[in-house]
């Protein structure tokens, strides 16, 4: 038997991969003295121009449903401005777009698809540009971006738009019709019927997330969102929307331009949140104050093949790297990001330490705090400009909103920030996450964080 092992070894030596094409490797990798993190030591040059890049990402302001500035706005009038902004800001010929994929959840499917098609016409897209919708619950906007990236990689087209749209004023959350009695036989199917707030209570109870922690997360979200708004950080990503407010008594229409989110409450404190009663469970911990806001809004992301962007001279805002959707227990659906983020990061060949920025949807403070603690993430890297508890969570649009917020912040941070992650939990028990890389068009200055002494040693050398 030793002879057999030895013969096998000799034969396998013949099949050992030879690096006679070592020149190609050298062209792809080069060491660079950069302080942006361990993963930056080997910067992959974009030789082939075949990765999928984002050249523009925008969103509307997010406004409270039924009471906010978009309460009298038609859903298609929310989507049209962000679609128009993509082509106006990039000066792209709209007929070159291969598909517009819109994530949207609550409206009746065929009607919403028609509204999105109509919005594309309002925005100036010709009839030759296709439109479709996608529904993966709270991650529909992110799924739309991932679908377009996948289609570009597959070679179906070179330019596409991933968008998100939701008007929870027009289409509140509801269950239409009766429930199939078969759910009684399957506990997991039955748990799919749980109100979202009950799953938040389940997360808080099962994983010991206290009311105080949840309220603190909400206070932080509002504080950061208010600071970002005051500092003008949302100016580049938000597209002002011209719309109208209708007086409920007189029916008079007043034209307005909405340019800021209207759900942010800078005066929120632990004391004021402490007065709110739990909504979903007696002696519970989930309140209206530490839950995401029910909102109206839209977002859109313009993706294309890098070689096309270079040919058009468009700066690269970000690079789409990976996407992962995972399933979890429906009763605690909020833990989705804790499972999805590691999956997407691993698929990108990275580690959590390599990720410099996170946008994790704050559906509820309990699941947000749980995911942050479970993954051991640095709070300084998460939702640095506030999250859904302050800004709002228009279900189908949140994914596109988060991509826009993430990429613009990564651009501001420059070399300090190379990889970012967008993630959200999904009703009925799923999680989705995507990894983005900062575009290369940034200057050399680092101004977001202090840099400790850098010995250019790999983390393995610690």
């Amino acid at each position: 038997m030793e002879k057999a092992i030895e013969r096998q070894r000799v034969l396998l030596e013949h099949l050992r991969p030879s690096s006679s094409s070592s020149h190609n490797y050298e062209a792809s990798l080069s060491a660079s003295a950069c302080l942006a993190g361990d993963s930056a030591a080997y910067q992959r040059t974009s030789l082939y121009g075949d990765d999928v890049v984002i050249v523009a990402a925008h969103r509307t302001p997010l406004c409270k449903s039924k009471r906010g500035n978009f309460k009298d706005t038609y859903p298609d009038d929310l989507l049209a401005p962000v679609l128009r902004a993509l082509i106006e800001k990039t000066n792209l010929n709209p007929s070159e777009v291969g598909d517009i994929v819109v994530g949207t959840v609550l409206a009746p499917g065929s009607q919403r698809a028609s509204e999105c098609r109509m919005a594309a016409f309002y925005a100036g897209f010709p009839e030759t540009v296709a439109v479709r919708t996608v529904n993966r619950q709270c991650s529909s906007g992110l799924q739309a971006v991932a679908d377009v990236a996948a289609a570009i990689k597959a070679g179906f087209y070179d330019i596409g738009i991933g968008a998100g749209l939701e008007s929870m004023t027009t289409n509140p959350m509801a269950w239409e019709g009766s429930v199939n009695p078969a759910v009684k036989k399957f506990a997991q199917a039955q748990n799919c019927l749980l109100p979202m707030g009950v799953t938040s209570e389940n997360v808080a109870q099962r994983f010991g997330v206290s009311r105080q922690e949840q309220d603190q997360a909400a206070v932080d979200s509002h504080r950061k969102a208010a600071a970002a708004t005051a500092a003008g950080k949302f100016k580049d990503e938000i597209i002002p929307v011209k719309t109208k407010l209708v007086d409920p008594k007189t029916g008079d229409e007043k034209p307005i331009t909405v340019s800021v989110d209207d759900g942010i409450r800078p005066t929120t404190t632990l004391a004021s949140l402490g007065k709110l009663k739990p909504v979903f469970k007696k002696d519970g911990t989930t309140t209206a104050g530490n839950s995401s806001q029910v909102s109206d809004g839209a977002g859109a992301v313009l993706l294309m093949k890098r070689s096309v962007a270079m040919q058009k001279g468009l700066p690269v805002l970000g690079v789409f790297r990976t996407f992962a959707a995972v399933g979890v227990d429906p009763a605690i659906m909020g833990i989705g990001p804790a499972v999805a983020i590691p999956a997407a990061v691993k698929a990108a060949g990275l580690e959590l330490d390599d990720i410099d920025l996170f946008e994790i949807n704050e559906a509820f403070a309990s699941q947000f705090v749980y995911c942050r603690n479970k993954l051991g993430l640095d709070p300084e890297k998460i939702n640095v400009n506030g999250g859904a508890m302050a800004i709002g969570h228009p279900l189908g649009a949140t994914g596109a909103r988060c991509v826009a917020t993430l990429l613009h912040e990564m651009k501001r941070r420059g070399k300090d920030c190379r990889f970012g992650v967008v993630s959200m939990c999904i009703g009925t028990g799923m999680g989705a996450a995507a990894v983005f890389e900062r575009g290369d068009g940034v200057d050399e200055l680092r101004n977001a964080r202090k840099v400790e002494a850098q010995g250019l040693l790999s983390k393995d050398a610690r």
Binding site: R7, H14, L15, S18
Partner: protein, 317 residues
Amino acid sequence: MPVFKAPFNGYSVKFSPFYESRLAVATAQNFGILGNGRIHVLELAPGAPGVTESVSYDTADAVYDVCWSESHDSVLIAAIGDGSVKIYDTALPPPSNPIRSFQEHAREVQSVDYNPTRRDSFLTSSWDDTVKLWAMDRPASVRTFKEHAYCVYQAVWNPKHGDVFASASGDCTLRIWDVREPGSTMIIPAHDFEILSCDWNKYDDCILATSSVDKTVKVWDVRSYRVPLAVLNGHGYAVRKVKFSPHRRSLIASCSYDMSVCLWDYMVEDALVGRYDHHTEFAVGIDMSVLVEGLMASTGWDELVYVWQQGMDPRAS
């Protein structure tokens, strides 16, 4: 085209220098890693596209190579995995064979080559890092050549000089020897990876080709050995055997772990002049007939032996 299905995995195939229709095949059980071996002597039916086995010999270990004697039309020499070298006479019945067996190599014998000019001696190369010289009338090896530092995969006589041979080794060197000299007369570091095979040009006694794990075939001239005459790229995996044509000066055949057999003309710009992908496992044996121009044979781990004319599809029937 004739095709023969062997019970074991093929390792080597050789045309007889005396009969147009005869060839020998070396095979090994379990890909030559563990188990028995067998030598088949095949006859090509004249006219009809068939091949029949005239005789076969079983061995206790894998048969890695086989070659015909240049002085007796019925004599075969086999390189065996247990380190033995056996001589068979196909004119005698199987119970009388092998007629002789030498047990000198310490490890697997990988190749055997009969001297085409003197016709009285042959070489064997082994995984024990040595090449041995044997004479038909001697009871033991005449000489052992010990300079290689790793498996010697091939040793092959020069077609014109009866005392000169080349050896290819996994130590990445190609060595040229003269049996009248105490050591090798030339060392060519031909590849950066193991060299699996070599062969001399039949028309120019200074030119030889090597094939390697680095997927290339290189052509060398011993008069200016610092740079190869040609580097032939095209195989996707290690090139297992390389053979110069006996009929055309610059034609080379090669077979590879990428399961293909390639034809090259190293003197033209686009050197790859033919590719045959009939094998469904590693192609490890290749030979060209000296009696019929353009006739080729190959064998591989798919247990098949193909015989075909250049330019034709080996699988055509």
